[in-house]
C-alpha cells in the first residue's frame, strides 16, 4: 500500500495539531455565559478606550443651566447637580475604573506570582516565611486592610491602586505556590533537572508555563473584585477625587440629591454591576475551559 492510499483511508486521523490555548478558546467560545461576559467587558473597555470619540460631552465641564435634568434625547442618562452629562461621565469613568482594576491586579499578579514561585520552588524557610506572611495578611478582612492602607497613606487613586494590589497579593501567592508544588513533582521537570537545567530555566521554561491556568482564572475574577473594591474606596472618598469621573465617586456624590435625581445614582451603579458580572462570567467560563475535568 503506498503512502497516498494510506492517507485517503484514514482522513480522520490526520487532524491538524492545535495548541493548548487554541483548544481552550474553542471550548470558551461554546460557553454562552462566558461569551456574554466577554462582550460586556469588550463593550466597556471599547467605550473607555474611545471615550473622547464616543462620549457626547465633556465629562468635567459644568453647565449650571442644565442641572439635575432627567434622561432625555440630549442627555441620554440625564445630568448631575453641576449639569454634567452622566453618560459622558460614565464612559470616562470606565477609563478610571478599568485602569484601577487592571493596574492593581497587575501589581498583585506580578508580586504574588513571584512570591508563590519562590516559595513553592525553594521550599524550606523561603516557603515558611512567605506563606506565614501571606496567612497573616489574610487574617485581615480585605476591605478593611485596603481602607487602612489608604487611610494611612492618604486618599487618592495611586494609593487606592496600591492598597487593592496589596490585598490581592496573598491570593496569587497561594495559588501559585500550590501549582508549583504540584508541577514540581512531574516527570518532565525531573527529566529537565536531570539534563542539567538551571533553576532559572526550570522555573521559567518548565514550571511557570504549566502553572498558568489557575492564575489566568484568578486574574479575571480579581479584576472584577478590584473594580468593586476601588469603587467602594472612591465611594468613601478614599479613591478617585473630584472632579475625576469614577463610578464609585459618582455614586457618593449623587447621594446628596438622591431624591431629586434618582437617575444620577442609578446608572453609575449599573455600570459597576455589569462590568463586575462580565468579569465573573468570563472567569467562571475560563475555569471550565482551562480544566474541562472540573466541569459538572
Amino acid at each position: 500500500m503506498d503512502e497516498q492510499a494510506l492517507r485517503l483511508q484514514h482522513p480522520a486521523v490526520i487532524r491538524p495539531s492545535v495548541g493548548f490555548y487554541t483548544d481552550v478558546w474553542r471550548r470558551l467560545r461554546r460557553n454562552r455565559a462566558a461569551m456574554a461576559g466577554l462582550a460586556v467587558i469588550v463593550l466597556f473597555a471599547g467605550l473607555a478606550a474611545f471615550a473622547p470619540v464616543v462620549a457626547p460631552q465633556d465629562p468635567i465641564v459644568q453647565d449650571l443651566e442644565a442641572r439635575l435634568l432627567p434622561p432625555s434625547m440630549t442627555h441620554l442618562l440625564g445630568t448631575d447637580d453641576l449639569g454634567r452629562d452622566l453618560l459622558s461621565r460614565i464612559i470616562y469613568g470606565g477609563r478610571v475604573s478599568l485602569t484601577l482594576g487592571m493596574v492593581s491586579v497587575g501589581l498583585a499578579l506580578v508580586t504574588g506570582t513571584l512570591l508563590g514561585l519562590v516559595a513553592g520552588f525553594y521550599g524550606r524557610w523561603a516557603d515558611s516565611l512567605t506563606m506565614r506572611t501571606m496567612d497573616i495578611m489574610l487574617a485581615f478582612p480585605a476591605t478593611l486592610l485596603a481602607i487602612f492602607i489608604v487611610g494611612i497613606r492618604g486618599p487618592g487613586l495611586n494609593n487606592a491602586m496600591l492598597a487593592i494590589g496589596v490585598i490581592n497579593i496573598p491570593i496569587f501567592a497561594r495559588i501559585m505556590r500550590g501549582s508549583v508544588l504540584r508541577v514540581r513533582q512531574e516527570d518532565f521537570v525531573e527529566a529537565a533537572r536531570a539534563l542539567g537545567a538551571s533553576p532559572r530555566r526550570l522555573l521559567g521554561r518548565h514550571i511557570l508555563p504549566n502553572t498558568l491556568a489557575p492564575i489566568i482564572v484568578q486574574t479575571t475574577l480579581a479584576i472584577g473584585a478590584a473594580i468593586l473594591e476601588a469603587a467602594g474606596l472612591s465611594f468613601l472618598g478614599l479613591g478617585a477625587q473630584a472632579p475625576t469621573p469614577e463610578w464609585g465617586a459618582m455614586l457618593s456624590h449623587t447621594r446628596e440629591f438622591l431624591r431629586d435625581a434618582p437617575w444620577a445614582a442609578t446608572f453609575p451603579g449599573i455600570a459597576i454591576l455589569l462590568t463586575v458580572v462580565g468579569f465573573n462570567l468570563l472567569g467562571d467560563g475560563l475555569r471550565d475551559a482551562l480544566d474541562p475535568r472540573l466541569r459538572q
Partner: protein, 337 residues
Amino acid sequence: MAAMGRYVGRRLVEIVPVFFGVLLIVFVIAHLTPGDPVLIALGEHATPEAIDRLRAELDLDEPLPLQFITYMGRVMRGDLGRSIQNNERVIVELGTRFPATIELTFAAMLVASVVGILTGIVAAARQNSWFDGASMFVALFGFSMPIFWLGIMLILLFAWYLGWFPISGRLDYTIELTRLTNFYLVDALLSGTWKALGDALRHLVLPAVTLSTVALAIIARMTRSSLLEVLRQDYVRTARAKGLGEVRVISRHALKNAFIPVVTVIGLNVGSLLGGAILTETIFAWPGVGRLVVDAIFARDYPIVQGAVLVIALVFVVVNLLVDLSYAYLDPRIRYG
C-alpha cells in the same frame, strides 16, 4: 472527645503567632504615614518643647523594634492610645461603637445564612428547574453587587418612595431606651420596651439586607454545589433505594455532609461582612466602628484608625478559629487527622 480537646488545644496555640503577625502588620502600616504624626497631632504651630514631649510620650524617639515591643506591651494591657480629636481612650471609644457593628453584622449573617442555605437546598433539590436557574442568575448579580449602590437603591425604594423603613440611624430619637449593653435589641428586651424593639428592628432591616447580599449569594451557590455533590454519592443512592422520601434523604442523610464547605464559606464571609460593614454604616449613618474608622481617617485621627483595624482583625481571627472548630465537630476526620 479527647481528640477534640487536643485539636482545640493545638488550634489555640497556633493562633498566637497570628496574633503577633496581625499586630506587626498594623504597626508597620501605621508607620507608613506620610509626614510626621507628631506634627499632624499638634498642628504646624506647636512649640519645639511640646513636639519633643509628645514624641517621647508616643515613644517615637526610640528605634522601631523597641517601639514595636512597647506597642505590643500596651496592646496586651488593653491600651490602644487616645483619640487625637477628643483625647478619649481608643478602647473606650471602640467599646461604645462595637455593639452597633456586631448587631448589624450578626443580623446580616443571619439573613445570609438562612436565606442562602434555603435557596441553595431548594435549587439543588430541583436542579435545572426554573427556580434553580432564576436563583443562580440572581446569585451571580448578588455577588457582583456594589453594596453601597444597593443600599442607596433600597433607601430610595423602601424608605423614600414606599416609606416602609427609616432612612438611617439605629433608633428614632423620640424613643427612650435605657442603654445597658449598647446592643439595642438586647437593651430593648431587657427593659421590656417593645416600642423600642420594634423601632430598632425596623432600622436594622435595610442595612442588614444590604450587607447580607454578597454573602447570601455565595452561600446559596456553595450550598447548591455542595449538596449536588453529596447527592451523587453511593450512600445517598442507598438511602433512596431503601425507599426514603426525597425530603428525608436530604434532611437526614445529605445535609450534614454538605454543610462542611458551607460552614467554611460562612466563616470566611464574616471577614467580608466586617469590611462591608464600613460601607454599609456609611450609607445608613449607622453609628458603628466602620463609620468611626472612616471619620477618623478624614480627621487624621490615627490612633482610632489603628486601634479599630487591630480590633476588627483580631475579631476576625477569633471567628476563623471558631469556624475551624465547628468544622472539626462536623467532620471527625479533621480532629483525628
